[in-house]
Amino acid sequence: MKKPSDSRAPAQVSRRAMLAASTAALGLAGTRAAQAEQKPLTVSEWATQLGRPVDDHAYGVPSKFEAGVIRRRVDWLTATAESSVAFTPLAALEGIITPNGLGFIRDHGGTPDIDPAQHRLVIEGLVEKPLIFTLEDIKRFPRVNRIHFCECAANSAMENNGPQMQAVQYSHGMVHNAMYTGVLLKTLLEAVGLKPNAKYVMPEGGDASGLTRTIPLDKALDDCMIAYNMNGEALHPGHGYPMRLVVPGWQANMWVKWIRRIKVGDEPFMTHEETAKYTSLMKDGRSRMFTWPMDAKSVITSPAPEAPWMSKGQNVISGIAWSGRGTIKQVDVSLDGGKNWVKAQIEGPVLPFSMVRFYVNTDWNGDELLLQSRAHDNTGYVQPTKNMLRAIRGRSFNYHNNGIQTWQVRKIGEVNNVEVS
């Protein structure tokens, strides 16, 4: 069996091994040990000797006991490791901010190592004055800080045809939430000035894939940003270093990383990523395109298949919710597969186009539970069931699966990904 620190391990090992690895990673095994042992406390060895120097890791790393909390890739999912995805380990995370080293990465041509001194962003097309910017130029513009979720439109796509992934990391791990520092795209568009017939912008990546998308001008002028810092520090290469586009609430595919060009045009560009891909095939054989906002969605991140409860009695149901149409107003939790619901407690900041964290405290008697969560946003949208989505869309829509997730808490140490009637 491979060690849990092997990034490919969970895709290749049994569910039992996965469970053991994940349980250890979350520290739950330790909790169980503490409850089993009834003996007097002793002074630990780490209390009687010096620890490591303060700069032992010049850039800090988590405790070695958290080695299983890592992004993971699913081998069979994609043809290559460069056009692929490494998923966020949601079950191990709390609050609403995803650490930069754990936020999912979806690349289409690998992660480039870009020298910021050589990187340029050009804004051209239907503009009064095309300009080329260096990173230093971009940093001299007025700054904003915004907390936003970033969700791949294909998040949960593997669940469209029935429950498949026995881990919330894989079923829902193409989402992260972070604070971005940068300049509003509106400010940059002011710097170049737009021609009267400008209607769309097309961001283009500076990586091997050169990813392009069409964004309507109203959105570009509303809240889009060119970000260079994420959660305080410079963007990591996998998140677009030295600069990326932030498109609040809209599919992550539009958040072009390593952005090298913005073209302003008067018609949609109909790029690969908005025609052949990221379009939703409906049951009548026609396809929705330009499905930009991510609908309200939530998921319980603990317990989860890789983070089962290890004790009866008081336990915390913890989850996340977000909406690309606005702000989360309410999250409901069901313990009985959607028959009855209670309002969850939303704990921490509630911001537009950002994750919220919700909790329900429960006294578990060990009986089977069918846990669900359901998000409401400030537009009145209520997260639908998977069957409600299928009734309208069919089963080949691929993108935008925001259906309600069910976790079967079967017994101590076992949580399953299921669907219910």
Partner: protein
């Protein structure tokens, strides 16, 4: 491009909050130039190396031409190790041909011929992102030839068709009318529900399907049920 006008019209109907064509009537810029004294004013020569986008009407297509015959040879050399000799796909790499009539089936085969709405997208994508390990290594004439061969392989152009920057905007794709603007606000209006049920929302609850293992491909819900 009448197709574009249709898209724009659909956009107004489906997404009233996003103003598209409504702004076209006003000959006034939304964003007047404001001088921040930042950035380097650029002539076309300075950034033309980045100008590789091609629009459905052919705008942006570089001067050049290609043939089916040349495309077949190039595809064999540059593309077939991933996409197969005929574009049938190797392993998990994309299938590029066939799939006509499958879009309403349980397992639709989405290819250039069965799915892609524009020929321009094919040129643009090959030119910027292919061959996968060596993107941007093909000349415009090579990209025209490979695009031409792929269109021919999908029965969209004849064997002797010469694809050029002049005619790439005129190719009609089989599924060109198969797309419509996001209509979720209408088609999924029932999801906006002010009175979501909280108590006794359904008479019974049964587990209908269960994920069996981490490695299995997607299961039919009925087959996966225990």
């Amino acid at each position: 491009m009448s197709k574009f006008r249709n898209f724009a019209l659909a956009a107004i109907i489906a997404l009233p909050s996003v103003a598209f064509a409504a702004e076209a009537a006003k000959p006034v810029s939304k964003v007047a130039a404001k001088d921040y004294g930042l950035g380097t004013p650029a002539t076309l020569d300075m950034y033309k190396a980045y100008l590789i986008d091609v629009r459905p009407d052919g705008q942006g297509a570089p001067v050049g031409k290609g043939t089916v015959k040349e495309g077949e040879k190039l595809f064999g050399d540059q593309c077939s190790s991933c996409h197969g000799d005929f574009g049938e796909g190797v392993g998990k790499f994309p299938v590029l041909m066939g799939g006509e009539g499958t879009l309403t089936r349980d397992h639709p085969v989405k290819t250039i011929g069965s799915y892609w709405p524009y020929a321009s997208t094919l040129f643009d994508y090959i030119d910027r992102a292919m061959p996968f390990p060596m993107p941007k290594s093909l000349t415009p004439d090579q990209v025209y030839s490979i695009t031409d061969w792929l269109l021919n392989q999908n029965n969209i152009v004849k064997d002797d068709f010469v694809l050029t920057n002049e005619n790439i905007g005129t190719i009609k794709m089989p599924n060109g009318n198969g797309f419509y603007m996001d209509d979720r606000k209408v088609a999924e209006k029932s999801f906006w529900n002010a009175n979501a049920c909280m108590k006794n929302c359904k008479p019974t609850v049964a587990v209908t399907a269960k994920a069996i293992s981490l490695n299995d491909p997607p299961k039919d819900a009925k087959a996966a049920a225990k």
